[in-house]
């Protein structure tokens, strides 16, 4: 039995790693969503973390832990001057401005010869271990769990629900929004640093608009009202292609297009039937049951 488990682990090691990396990315979008801000610059932050860490281990020969620390700190530092102006705008305008930031980062990397432009950096040493990724996920979840119900957690919820009212309670809303943007940038950068040292390579096109949409979909599908929702979404949507790979021959559709179709259907179903994400499924089932019982007794 242990042999079988070891086989399973060897086969799915990369999937398990990406569940963790995608969880960090989903949480990086959740941080700003938790105070009602739709900021979508996280593919850019992730790219900055990935390139910073890769350059430091390969060119400067820094030890891996220090390079990972830089993958956290560099995007966090970039988030401050970005956030100060863009967090003055709200809603869809904030989303567009931050998507613009992500594209600037991607195009900057494409045109930067030192990092091989569009080809990216290859032959990065593989230094990321699974335990590091999951330790980081656990630490992020712990911090977010401890924020909930604290003075700062209530301030974030107040900003999400009614920002002007929150300001009249003495909450310096811009500081909170900036803190969450910086925390999100740090998590995205961390995920990028891990990914670069797991897949041997980084390229600008891995950090395009599609990537940040994936992160947002993880958070929305899992549930963005509670801190562990994004992790549920990331795990589910990372595992889904593995299952579909086996299903694809049976339905006669190529795995790639099938994955996109099913992802779209899952997103549609969640938005229509589970607006608070997969984590709200148990409660929704209880509500449906109660409604059916009520309807039957009325009839």
């Amino acid at each position: 039995m242990w042999d079988q488990l070891a086989d399973l682990y060897a086969t799915y090691q990369s999937t398990i790693a990406f569940i963790g990396i995608n969880s960090l990315l989903a949480l990086s979008v959740y941080t700003t969503l938790s105070c009602g801000q739709l900021a979508l610059g996280n593919a850019g932050f992730s790219a900055i973390g990935a390139y910073a860490a890769a350059l430091l281990t390969m060119q400067a020969h820094w030890p891996f832990p220090l390079a990972i620390l830089a993958a956290v700190l560099v995007p966090a530092a970039v988030a401050v001057p970005l956030g100060l102006p863009v967090l003055r705008i709200r809603g869809i305008f904030l989303a567009i401005a931050t998507i613009g930031f992500g594209e600037v980062v991607r195009l900057g990397l494409v045109n930067w010869d030192y990092v091989n432009g569009a080809q990216g950096i290859v032959a990065i040493p593989q230094k990321t271990e699974l335990w590091m990724i999951y330790l980081a996920v656990a630490a992020a979840l712990f911090v977010l769990a401890r924020l909930r119900g604290s003075k700062w957690g209530f301030a974030l919820e107040a900003i999400r629900e009614d920002e002007p009212a929150a300001r009249t309670m003495g909450i310096a809303t811009t500081r909170y929004k900036l803190a969450m943007l910086v925390l999100g940038a740090a998590l995205a950068g961390l995920a990028g640093g891990f990914e670069a040292h797991f897949t041997f390579m980084v390229a600008p096109n891995g950090f395009g608009f599609g990537r940040v949409v994936d992160m947002l979909v993880f958070a929305v599908v899992g549930g963005s009202q509670i801190y562990w929702g994004p992790v549920v979404g990331a795990a589910f949507l990372t595992l889904l292609p593995e299952i579909l790979r086996d299903v694809a021959p049976l339905v006669g559709i190529e795995p790639g297009p099938l994955r996109l179709m099913v992802n779209g259907l899952v997103l549609l179903a969640v938005i229509l039937f589970l607006p608070n994400g997969m984590v709200s499924l148990p409660r929704r089932i209880a509500e449906w049951r109660a409604a059916r019982v009520a309807a039957r007794s009325a009839a």
């Binding site: 209530f154 301030a155 919820e157 002007p164 300001r167 309670m169 909450i171």
Partner: protein
């Protein structure tokens, strides 16, 4: 005694409309000051100007000897001004108690490290904050509704949670924008008593209200606003008999 709040020549224009047009009055410490006037007189705009949600286009607003016009709302709040809203603005998905906990934001100074490390000191601070919140809800007569989501409370109950949330920061000046709108007479009486008690404890109250009975009963001084200008000021009895006030509300007798 020098006033706690004073407005001098305050003006606020929205495009061509001067909602507040050179208004000036002062609120003394520990007093209940009524601000009344016909619809569209600019009362809510004055509250928004004081609390920093709007900046005046001219004039000055002072809290003690400190000018506060142009400060962002959170800084005005930090100087000791709390408010309620005419169109209730509770945080609908938070419980009544959690709404009041948000109101305590300025009073609490817990340590982030203690919270993250789950130290007992953090737990004590949080328990005290929750107890204060529950006590405030008891004070406004909602001890039974502490854990109810704000969205599930009745209109009158929501108004009372807003008052508790505003009191949670122990403000020097409490701005109440039509606190009894939609309340039944029993609830109105309870709010009247609460306002008197708040003032008796030395906090000032600026009360915008349409319920004339309540204003006459509760206020020490009344300012009457009409088309953004102050047309009368004084004790409730004098203001009620002022011909300019009667004309503003009922029209000029021919």
């Amino acid at each position: 005694m020098s006033p706690l709040l004073s407005l001098t020549g305050v003006e606020r224009a929205f495009g061509g409309v001067r909602a507040v047009d050179g208004a000036g009055f002062a609120v003394a410490p520990g007093q209940v000051h009524g601000l009344i006037g016909p619809n569209g007189a600019g009362k809510t705009t004055v509250i928004n100007l004081i609390s920093g949600l709007l900046a005046p286009t001219a004039g000055s607003i002072q809290l003690g000897d400190r000018p506060i016009h142009g400060l962002p709302p959170w800084q005005v709040a930090a100087l000791g001004v709390a408010r309620t809203f005419q169109n209730i603005r509770l945080f609908p998905d938070l419980s009544a108690r959690d709404n009041v906990l948000v109101g305590q934001h300025l009073r609490r100074s817990p340590s982030l490290a203690a919270r993250m490390l789950m130290l007992p000191s953090a737990r004590v601070e949080e328990r005290e904050a929750r107890e204060r919140a529950a006590a405030l809800l008891t004070r406004v007569g909602l001890s039974e509704r502490v854990h109810e989501h704000a969205r599930h409370l009745s209109y009158g109950e929501q108004r009372r949670v807003e008052i508790a949330r505003a009191l949670a920061s122990t403000p020097r000046l409490l701005l109440l924008d039509e606190p009894t709108a939609g309340m039944n007479p029993v609830e109105v009486q309870a709010v009247a008593q609460l306002i008197r008690r708040v003032a008796a404890e030395g906090q000032s109250v600026l009360l915008v209200e349409h319920n004339v009975r309540l204003v006459m009963d509760v206020c020490d001084t009344i300012t009457v606003l009409c088309f953004g200008k102050v047309i009368a000021e004084g004790a409730p009895r004098t203001v009620a008999e002022d011909p300019a006030v009667i004309a503003a509300y009922l029209g000029n007798p021919k």
